[in-house]
Symmetry: C2
DNA sequence: CAGTGGTCTAGACCACGCC
DNA sequence: GCGTGGTCTAGACCACTGC
């Protein structure tokens, strides 16, 4: 068995796909996998390529390796959800089997005041876009996002894409504006719901809520987004998985 | 310049240290680094080794690479705190310049009831250790942890180590019991403080608080810890950084 | 076009776990 | 001693960037 070297996808990625398929079909958790040298022979690739593929599989939690013993299949219970990705409402709701939905409550262009200028690392007065979104799951209001992004970078952002096509904001950043999220810095804390948001979320004023504050950076360390979210405390659980 | 091949530390790790030092002393953010081939010559190592070192530096956010252009120094503002690590109260408080302190409120051995047996994946009635800890920062009570671990694995756990030596639980797991944390699964949600905890934390009953529920797994997918924490909403902020 | 990072090969030795 | 994963080398070609 060999791979196609003329494809756009590198060989080690093709190998990752092959191994994933093979594991899915033929292995149980904690089974011993083929050794690196056996994989070399089977797929006619060099050891470096095998190790590159195995590294990927290790990172996504599909396998674990033990020096002197071998490579083993990890328990996939841990593999259904993405690990180490920044928070995505849509992804989390899907993982819970709920139907996510996003409604745009506000889209406006404003001049940054002192506070938002500082948060976005811009000069006060610079134009920014404010986006207020209501997130629902199975029809139930779950959280309100207030997102602030620099107008200069995203002037042609289409509200229709967000609402009608229900595209994820980060997909639009990446696909339409080539802005890659390199780092997301999140603060999570407990708070009390404001009167305004309580009405929108359909809960009592003063109910406990989960507050999220997020700043995201591109590879050049420019800030591409600042978001404050308020989630209802009686419904919303934020889940993270850390892999080592 | 060459490296010592007889050291326990692999050459690429030595190269990582060298490059970190060099970057710290001679480079500014977004400066262009030596090319991979120049590093090869300078340190007399092969390209693979250089790339292994650069991969590490990329993962910890020290550098970023651009195909066809070069390798660049990232802004270290993002590098002071560890990225992608599971939550550690002690580490976070240190990062904020606060003095962390842990007080053991309870250490007991009990038989797991239905609930905890399920959470730890044990049979009901199995012996487990309960550990209740109060976390303070600069003398101020911040959160209460209730940790449940299987007695079979950690029967010789020393409370003195935790309290007098202020050792981190995970260091003890790793160093004294060879239990490595492979995956941490955390739920974060907003809640209301119980009467009992309100007294300990010095806040009013019914105050909003941040609740954390954590399950950690070793590489074999055995559960090594289940912890529920309650943090005061007026003081405590949970910070995470995601790197891509 | 030259220079960069991205991928790949073939072969070597070491360190660890197990019999 | 043998098989495993971990590290390392020397050399090659490709794809992308910018002049």
């Amino acid at each position: 068995m060999t791979f196609d070297y003329n494809q756009k996808q590198p060989v080690y990625e093709q190998l990752v796909d092959e191994l994933r398929k093979s594991i899915k079909e033929n292995y149980q958790p904690n089974d011993k996998l083929l050794s690196e040298r056996e994989i070399m022979k089977k797929y006619s690739v060099s050891r470096n390529t095998v190790r590159q593929a195995l590294n990927e599989l290790e990172i996504i939690g599909y396998i674990y390796r033990q020096h002197g013993k071998g490579t083993f299949v990890a328990n996939w219970a841990t593999n259904n959800s993405k690990i180490g990705d920044e928070y995505s409402f849509t992804e989390q709701m899907k993982a819970l089997g709920k139907k996510p939905e996003t409604k745009i409550l506000e889209y406006s262009i404003l001049n940054a005041n002192e506070y938002f200028a500082k948060r976005l690392n811009l000069s006060p007065g610079t134009k920014i876009i404010k986006l207020k979104r209501l997130r629902k799951a199975d029809g139930l209001p779950m959280m309100i996002d207030r997102t602030y992004i620099p107008y200069a970078k995203f002037s042609t952002l289409s509200v229709e894409d967000l609402e009608v096509n229900q595209r994820a904001l980060y997909s639009i950043f990446l696909e339409d504006f080539s802005e890659k999220v390199k780092l997301a810095d999140e603060d999570i804390y407990a708070g009390i719901c404001s009167e305004k948001d309580a009405g929108t979320l359909g809960i009592l004023v003063g109910s406990p809520c989960l507050m999220l504050r997020r700043t995201t950076y591109n590879p050049k360390n420019e800030i591409i987004e600042y978001t404050i979210s308020c989630a209802r405390g009686d419904q919303f659980v934020y889940n993270i998985k850390y892999q080592h």
